[in-house]
C-alpha cells in the first residue's frame, strides 16, 4: 500500500488523478465542515448548548405549547442558530464553488463569483432600495415590504449578468476577454451610481448600507431560506456538469473545442450558476467577499487542479470557512456581533498566505 501523502506536490499529476490527495482533501474539508456546523449550533451568547436539542426535538414532536424555557431554547436553536448554520452552508458553498468555476472559465487566478457583474448589480440594486425606499422606490417597498432589498438584489444580479452576456456574445460565441473588460466598465459605472446614491443617503441609511456591505448572516429566517433555495440549488447542481469542460479549458479554449467539449454551453451554465449564487447570497447576507476568490486556491494547493476535486472541495471548504467566521463573529464581542466580512478575511487571509509559503507550486 503506497502512501499518497508523501508525494511531492510540485510533481505534475495527470488530471485524471482522483486518488490520494484529492480524496484526502475532500474528506478533510468535509470533516472540518461537520465540526464547524456543530460548533455553530453549539455556541452563542445565550449559553444554550446542544444538550437542549433532545428536549427541543421532543417538544417539537409532541406539538402543543412547550414550557417557556423550552420555547426559548427552541427559538435560539431552531430559529436563530440553525437558520444561520444553513444559510452559512448555502452561501459559503455556492460562493466557493462558483468562484472555482469562474477561475476555471476565465483561466484567471483573480476571478471571483462576482466577475460577471452579479455583485455589482446586486449591490447597486440593494443600496438603491435602502436609500430610495422611502422616496423614488416607495411603490416597490409598498409591494414587497421587508423583502424589497433581497428581491431587488436578485433582480439586479441577473439584470447585470444578462447585460454583460449580451455585450460579450456575437453569433452565439461568447468572448471571455470582452466579458472581463465590459465587466470592468459596467462595474465602474455602477460604482458611480452607487456613490451617487450613498451621497444622497441620510445617517440611518448610511449605517444600513455600511453594515450591509460588510455582510452578516444575522438576518437568516426560514421563509427567506426557502425562497432562496432554488438559486443555491442551481449553483451547486451545475458543478458535476462543469467538471469535465473546465478541466478541458485548462488547456485553452481552442483545445477544449477540439476535444469535443461544448464550451459555449459550459460558459452559459457557469455564468448562470454564478449569477444565482451571488444574487441569492447578496440578497440574504449582504456582500461577503474573499470566500469565492481564496477558497478554490486553497483547495487547488491541497489537491491539484482537477475540477472533479476542486469544485466539491471548494463547496465544502467555503461552507466551513463561512460557518467558522460566523461563529467567531457571534462569540468574540458577544452580546454584540461583528460583520462577517471582517472575520472571513481576518482568518482566511493568513491561512492562505501560510499555504502559499509552504508550497510554492504554481497556481493554475
Amino acid at each position: 500500500m503506497t502512501s499518497a501523502t508523501t508525494r511531492d506536490v510540485t510533481a505534475t499529476r495527470p488530471l485524471g488523478d482522483r486518488t490520494g490527495r484529492g480524496r484526502l482533501t475532500l474528506a478533510g474539508a468535509a470533516l472540518v465542515l461537520v465540526a464547524a456546523a456543530v460548533l455553530s449550533l453549539a455556541l452563542g451568547p445565550t449559553g444554550i448548548s446542544l444538550d437542549a436539542v433532545p428536549r427541543v426535538v421532543r417538544a417539537l414532536l409532541a406539538g402543543g405549547t412547550a414550557s417557556p424555557e423550552i420555547a426559548r431554547e427552541r427559538l435560539v436553536l431552531v430559529d436563530i442558530r440553525l437558520t444561520r448554520t444553513v444559510l452559512g452552508i448555502l452561501v459559503g458553498a455556492s460562493l466557493g464553488i462558483t468562484g472555482a468555476m469562474m477561475q476555471g472559465l476565465f483561466r484567471n487566478p483573480l476571478a471571483d463569483p462576482g466577475l460577471v457583474g452579479a455583485s455589482t448589480g446586486a449591490g447597486l440594486a440593494a443600496v438603491a432600495m435602502i436609500a430610495l425606499g422611502g422616496g423614488a422606490l416607495a411603490p416597490v417597498v409598498a409591494l414587497l415590504g421587508t423583502e424589497a432589498v433581497p428581491v431587488a438584489a436578485v433582480i439586479g444580479a441577473f439584470a447585470t449578468t444578462l447585460l454583460l452576456y449580451a455585450i460579450a456574445t456575437r453569433q452565439r460565441q461568447t468572448s471571455t476577454a470582452t466579458l472581463l473588460l465590459a465587466g470592468v466598465a459596467i462595474g465602474a459605472f455602477a460604482g458611480a451610481l452607487t456613490g451617487l446614491i450613498v451621497f444622497g443617503a441620510d445617517d440611518r441609511q448610511l449605517r444600513d448600507i455600511t453594515f450591509w456591505t460588510l455582510g452578516s448572516l444575522g438576518g437568516a429566517a426560514w421563509p427567506k431560506l426557502a425562497a432562496a433555495l432554488p438559486f443555491f440549488a442551481v449553483a451547486l447542481a451545475a458543478a458535476p456538469l462543469l467538471a469535465r469542460p473546465l478541466n478541458a479549458l485548462l488547456l485553452g479554449e481552442a483545445e477544449a473545442v477540439h476535444l469535443g467539449i461544448a464550451t459555449e454551453q459550459a460558459k452559459r451554465l457557469a455564468i448562470a450558476a454564478a449569477a444565482c449564487a451571488v444574487g441569492a447570497s447578496v440578497a440574504l447576507s449582504g456582500v461577503i467577499g474573499f470566500v469565492g476568490i481564496v477558497v478554490p486556491h486553497v483547495v487547488r494547493l491541497a489537491a491539484g487542479p482537477d475540477h472533479r476535486i476542486v469544485l466539491p472541495g471548494s463547496a465544502l471548504a467555503g461552507a466551513a470557512l463561512l460557518l467558522l467566521a460566523d461563529t467567531i463573529a457571534r462569540v468574540v464581542v458577544a452580546p454584540a456581533e461583528l460583520p462577517i466580512g471582517i472575520v472571513t478575511a481576518a482568518i482566511g487571509a493568513p491561512f492562505f498566505l501560510w499555504l502559499l509559503l509552504r508550497q510554492r507550486s504554481g497556481i493554475v
Binding site: L43, T46, G47, V76, I80, D202, R204, P335, A336
Partner: protein, 315 residues
C-alpha cells in the same frame, strides 16, 4: 428566569457570572417586584403586552436616559453603544452593540423580560426575529421634536409601569421647552450658524436640512446657514464663504479636542463673521441631537451662547 440556569461555555463564563449575580440580586430584592400587566401600542402600531419589567434591555441613548431618570437603572440588564448618558450606563452594563447593528441572540442572551428600543433599532431582519420571540419588544416612534420628548417619556414610563414618575418627568421637560421658547422669543435676529460634524483636511462636513442638528439650530433660536443641503454633506469652501456663518457649532466629544484656532484656520471660514469673532460653540452631541430629557437645558445654553439676549425667565 426560573428553572435551571442555562449552562455556559468558557467564553461566556463571565457573562454568566454577571447574569447570575443579577438574578440573585433580583430575587433578593423581592420587595422591588416590578408592576406588571401593561398593554401598550408601540411606535409601529403593535399591541404589546408587558408582564414583567424586572430585566430590561435598553436600546438607544434616549431610552436609556429616560430609564435612568425614572430611577430604574437597576432594572436595566444591557444597553447599546449609543447609551452615552449617563456615562455609568455603558461602564456598568454590557452593550448589545450599535443600535443599527444588533444581534438577535446577543440581545436575548441578556435574559430580558422586556426590550425597549428607539425607532432606529436594526437591522430590520434582526428586529423581525426579536419581534417573533416571546420577550415583549417595544419600539418608540421616530419623531425628533420637543413634543416627542415628553411623549417618549410618558410612553416608556407606561411600558415599565411607572406612569406617575413619567408624568412628573414629562411635565418638567415640557416646562423646560416652554422656558426655551420664551427665551428664544427674545432673540431679535436669529444668528446664522453652521453645525460642523467634522473638519477633515479643512473641509467641513455640515448638517443640512432634515437632520437632528438642523432642528437643534432652529430650537436654539438660530438659522442654519447651510442652505440647500440635505442630510450631512461636505460643503465646498466657496459655498461656506458665501454662507458667511456668524458662529460655528461642533460636538465636544471626539478623538481630538477642537479649538477655535484649528477650526478657523480652515480656508472655508476665512473672512466669515464667525472667524473674525472666533465664535466656536461646543455642544454635547448626544444631549443636543438625541432629543432626550436633557434637551431643554442644553438647547437653552446653546441659545444663550449664540445670542446673549436669549435668557430664560426665572422658573
Amino acid at each position: 428566569m426560573n428553572g435551571t440556569p442555562p449552562r455556559y461555555g468558557a467564553p461566556q463564563r463571565r457573562a454568566f457570572a454577571i447574569s447570575l449575580a443579577l438574578t440573585l440580586a433580583a430575587l433578593a430584592a423581592g420587595l422591588d417586584r416590578a408592576k406588571a400587566g401593561e398593554t401598550v401600542t408601540d411606535g409601529r402600531g403593535r399591541l404589546v403586552e408587558i408582564t414583567d419589567t424586572s430585566r430590561i434591555v435598553s436600546i438607544g441613548g434616549s431610552v436609556t436616559e429616560i430609564l435612568y431618570d425614572l430611577d430604574l437603572a437597576d432594572r436595566i440588564v444591557a444597553v447599546d453603544d449609543t447609551s452615552l448618558y449617563p456615562p455609568e450606563a455603558l461602564k456598568t452594563k454590557p452593550s448589545v452593540g450599535y443600535v443599527r447593528a444588533l444581534s438577535a441572540e446577543g440581545v436575548l442572551s441578556q435574559g430580558p423580560t422586556l426590550i425597549l428600543a428607539e425607532a432606529d433599532a436594526g437591522p430590520p431582519p434582526v428586529v423581525d426575529v426579536l419581534m417573533s420571540a416571546a420577550v415583549p419588544f417595544v419600539v418608540l416612534d421616530g419623531r425628533k421634536t420637543p413634543e416627542a420628548v415628553a411623549d417618549h417619556i410618558r410612553f416608556v414610563a407606561k411600558a415599565v409601569g411607572e406612569t406617575q414618575k413619567g408624568d412628573a418627568l414629562a411635565k418638567e421637560v415640557e416646562v423646560g421647552f416652554d422656558r426655551l421658547a420664551a427665551a428664544r422669543a427674545k432673540v431679535a435676529t436669529p444668528p446664522r450658524v453652521v453645525f460642523v460634524m467634522s473638519l477633515r483636511d479643512g473641509q467641513p462636513l455640515v448638517a443640512g436640512e432634515g437632520t437632528a442638528a438642523d432642528a437643534m439650530i432652529r430650537l436654539a433660536g438660530a438659522e442654519n446657514a447651510a442652505k440647500g443641503i440635505k442630510g450631512y454633506k461636505a460643503m465646498t469652501t466657496e459655498a461656506m464663504v458665501e454662507a458667511a456663518p456668524e458662529a460655528v457649532i461642533m460636538m465636544r466629544q471626539g478623538p481630538t479636542p477642537v479649538t477655535a484656532e484649528t477650526v478657523f484656520a480652515a480656508p472655508a471660514f476665512a473672512g466669515s463673521p464667525a472667524a473674525q469673532a472666533k465664535r466656536l460653540v461646543l455642544v454635547d452631541g448626544l444631549g443636543a441631537l438625541g432629543f432626550g430629557p436633557r434637551s431643554p437645558e442644553i438647547l437653552l445654553s446653546l441659545c444663550g451662547a449664540l445670542d446673549p439676549a436669549c435668557t430664560a425667565p426665572a422658573p
